[in-house]
Symmetry: C2
């Protein structure tokens, strides 16, 4: 069994813990977090600590905290020459403090506490400084997912950026759609078949071949009217920028 | 059987035709289009014409053409006092010429010729000037979909605008994600589990409760670095605008 300590208790740590608990090759021996609060989401059976000095001896330490804090936090760890990895898409491996052996264990998915995910389908991207450590991370990745790939920090950075566009920004557009629908007494769920089909269609072809809508069709009257209907300046700006981007891509004129 | 003539032979007409052909209550007696080319996608069994003067007598005429052309085209129809509807989300019913009885038959979905859709799950929104015509459109809607609703032009306009955000704009973000991934030798299909889960999560809660990512977490270092990585000015602008919109919504500071 690979002994693992989770450092951090946010959404990623929570879903990793659930996946590791189902694996017969990984044992979570401890969860560390600065505050007790987050532990309430984790199974009672897991050992927890809020004290850095009480962290147990493990084969792999997995840091799942805010990207901005990884560098500093890794320097505060009171041990050395251990395998310490982070789970961030955008932080380079060498941002971890060099007193430990460094690596990355990046599951490409959007995690919320109250949603179930099927980890078997989530690609896990790993990186390490040595072949032995890489093999350990690959073993861990393959014990929870069908898809585990080695990828360097530069590629991972690009992959994460792509993920920001197709997930985080997309979700904000869902949010705007939600606001527009509900403020007009239209149940948001009526948009769900459209939302799911827009994602599903990508199984049939690349996004640019699937584009539809007023900007693609160059329906100028519709675009002018829709811009007028929007009452928030921010929504107008997003509408113009994305419509123009679509129009540019398909060789239409600007709004 | 309700006798229908399709006016236009684009993506919407194509998918409507497929759904009507499966219905035991609707008979497509003709498809009109200005040019012959588009007919090649339709079943050979359907009668077609490119001449307005040869349009047959029907219970309902369905205009599926570019939004901008609906008004003008409806005025050129060489008959009157017939039920003429369009399938557009954003065009008001009264944009149809008043020499005919007017209505709307709007299926809320994104249609591409080379993708199959399950019409039974697609909400159809209908509107008419008289109760009798409304009932006919509802009968047509219910014969191809489990969800048929009456909605007025103003609400439909808002619904369509929401659809532009959650479908058309979302697909363009998929396209940007595709470009970022493939230009870095990362297969786009590795992003598919993330894309589908981002859509699926909305079954569990409204979009704002599902937001994740650097802008939501206020990871400023990550955002600054990602802005720097993007090499197209258009991508930078989209990144900044959407990150700021997310930050604003969750009470963070601007980039």
């Amino acid at each position: 069994m690979i002994k693992v300590v989770l450092l951090g208790a946010g959404n990623v740590a929570f879903h990793l813990a659930k996946a590791f608990l189902r694996s017969d090759q990984i044992q979570i021996i401890q969860v560390f977090n600065r505050s007790e609060d987050a532990f309430s989401f984790f199974p009672n059976s897991l050992s927890t600590t809020t004290s850095l000095s009480k962290i147990l001896d493990a084969d792999c330490y997995i840091i799942s905290i805010s990207d901005d804090s990884i560098n500093e936090f890794s320097a505060t760890l009171p041990f050395s020459n251990k395998l310490v990895v982070h789970t961030s898409g955008s932080v380079a491996m060498n941002q971890l403090h060099s007193k430990n052996r460094r690596g990355v264990f990046y599951p490409l998915q959007t995690f919320s506490k109250n949603t179930e995910v099927n980890f078997a389908e989530i690609p896990v991207f790993v990186e390490a400084e040595t072949k032995t450590d890489l093999q350990l991370l690959q073993k861990m990745g393959r014990s929870i997912s069908k898809k585990c790939f080695e990828i360097n920090s530069e590629q991972r950075e690009k992959l994460h950026l792509a993920a920001v566009f197709v997930c985080n920004f997309v979700n904000h557009l869902y949010h705007i759609g939600y606001e527009l629908a509900t403020e007009n007494d239209i149940p948001f769920e009526l948009l769900m078949p459209l939302i799911k089909e827009t994602a599903r269609k990508l199984d049939d072809g690349i996004p640019s071949t699937m584009q539809t809508g007023p900007a693609k069709r160059n329906d100028k009257k519709t675009m002018a009217k829709q811009l007028e209907i929007l009452h928030l300046q921010e929504h107008k700006e997003i509408y113009s920028l994305l419509s123009n981007a679509i129009a540019n891509h398909y060789g239409r004129k600007k709004l």
